[in-house]
Symmetry: C2
Amino acid sequence: MTSRRVFLGASAAVFALLAGCATHAPPTDPLPSWNDGAARQSIVAFVGKVTREGTAGYVPPAERIAVFDNDGTLWSEQPVYVQLAFALDRVKALAPQHPEWQAQEPFASLLKGDLGGALAGGEQAIAQIIMATHAGTTTEEFATIVKDWLATARHPATGRPYTGMVYQPMLELLGYLRANGFKTFIVSGGGIEFMRPWTEQVYGIPPEQVVGSSVKTKYELRAGRPVLVRLPELNFIDDQAGKPVGIQQHIGRRPILAFGNSDGDFEMLEWATTGDGPRLGVIVHHDDAAREYVYDRKSHIGRLDRGLDEAGPRGWVLVSMKDDWRAIYPPATTLHATH
Amino acid sequence: MTSRRVFLGASAAVFALLAGCATHAPPTDPLPSWNDGAARQSIVAFVGKVTREGTAGYVPPAERIAVFDNDGTLWSEQPVYVQLAFALDRVKALAPQHPEWQAQEPFASLLKGDLGGALAGGEQAIAQIIMATHAGTTTEEFATIVKDWLATARHPATGRPYTGMVYQPMLELLGYLRANGFKTFIVSGGGIEFMRPWTEQVYGIPPEQVVGSSVKTKYELRAGRPVLVRLPELNFIDDQAGKPVGIQQHIGRRPILAFGNSDGDFEMLEWATTGDGPRLGVIVHHDDAAREYVYDRKSHIGRLDRGLDEAGPRGWVLVSMKDDWRAIYPPATTLHATH
């Protein structure tokens, strides 16, 4: 190669580098699992608006806070909340250490496989199950228990690991928002320490950006080493009107974008969408009988009633899983990457 | 200019760009206010160790969590905590709306300028002052009250705005850590909502990276618009053994670097420095009579007793403000930038 050809090549390289240190590949669609309907268009238009510097709708990156419910919004919540499936398995795992449970509700019914009988005790029964299965360990032990369970537990209908029951369009959306300077948070009624061990790997959301319900913890020394012990006492319920409270406690800013799927997210959407400047509220509507589940106004899990009535008047976007989503779950071939 | 000279120039430019897309200015000291003593060397060595890829001490950026106490660590806490100065001014500002305070302790003594008399009621008196001055507003109103107060209040000894009473070496350290991939958090016994309105501008620490003490809040609609109302009820005390609890609640990871100045930070340093892998605990020692204050074992504010005894055996670094810091506060000419 002559030195002249080297220089010519170098000159072209300089030009490319000075043009922005970037290669000019054809643009790829950041949301390939979203059909080009009204929902996608509303989201893309909103992101375009808040990122356009020098315009009235511009929002600086630091204020681009996006909050997402988890159960039913980022992953499946049917036929039962994943955390309830975890708690039930955990009761079985702990039963040998608790012979008294054989004669004590709600555990006796649970251990006989009678979920209805166990839950007949209402909120108190659920609280007993949660405390028996979510307290008494250190925070580090609990994280290990959750990870170990997720590695082997399978969804009853699909046989997938639960971390394979996340919604592919939402994974794409999280990445798209972060690529546009948003900081993405989970704000869930679920247990904060049940989510943190896996949200970074699965959603790209680190533990410090997870808000959820919690039990109290206590700092103490065990054999000279400090631990945080999970106590059988509720600390915070991050649901309904608790969601704006949890958002303020953890984030300290009002989100400009909120994504939910049930009336438990109503106040979060209301809080996010009634501040100044551009705001967007979105509700995922479970209307896909063939590929997921159909439920809304009358469901015990993820009931969506008031939100369905008020989405229109409030300008919230309804996402139809059936019509707006080209795919529901990630391809099976990618699942190994989440473990 | 001949085309050959253009090509030669272009070739040099390519070389520079390929060498890392960077210009080769002489390196500037990121910590100019730190003397080159043992404290600085320990910090720089630790940062070097955890950022060196491919070595045993390497820590991925996501795990580089650094936590800082605020009062006495990032800014001055003498002659009284800034938040107490705020509360006292706020009692005076609110007194016209509370004629009953003229005859009711601790307010009556306070309004006569008798701080000792007011605080004679101990913790209950302090709680009454805090609740009277920190509750009853919305979170947004409270943020405005704090910002308005900081804009006019002045430190009694220096006449500076309180945001000018931050420690210049710590500002440099926060920037140095962030430049090395650390995420910096405040973990303070002070009120979380007293700090959030200004920590981003002053420290570069956004509201979602502030952990502190809090009152409960309640979501409600006022004239159809949602607000979060601050209630006269304690939610969380982020001090002593509460600091690891607050860290887990908000961050959900164990920090690898903790900075404090008093025994209120002891458990935070213990928690941060007893995990696996490289860990660093640092205590700022107030030993500079000429430029700041001298206090440790017997101080009512920022008492440092056990920490002073155990720093050595535990391998924690003691920073002498007198010997390790070339400057204490930012130059007066830069202060306008913080408002």
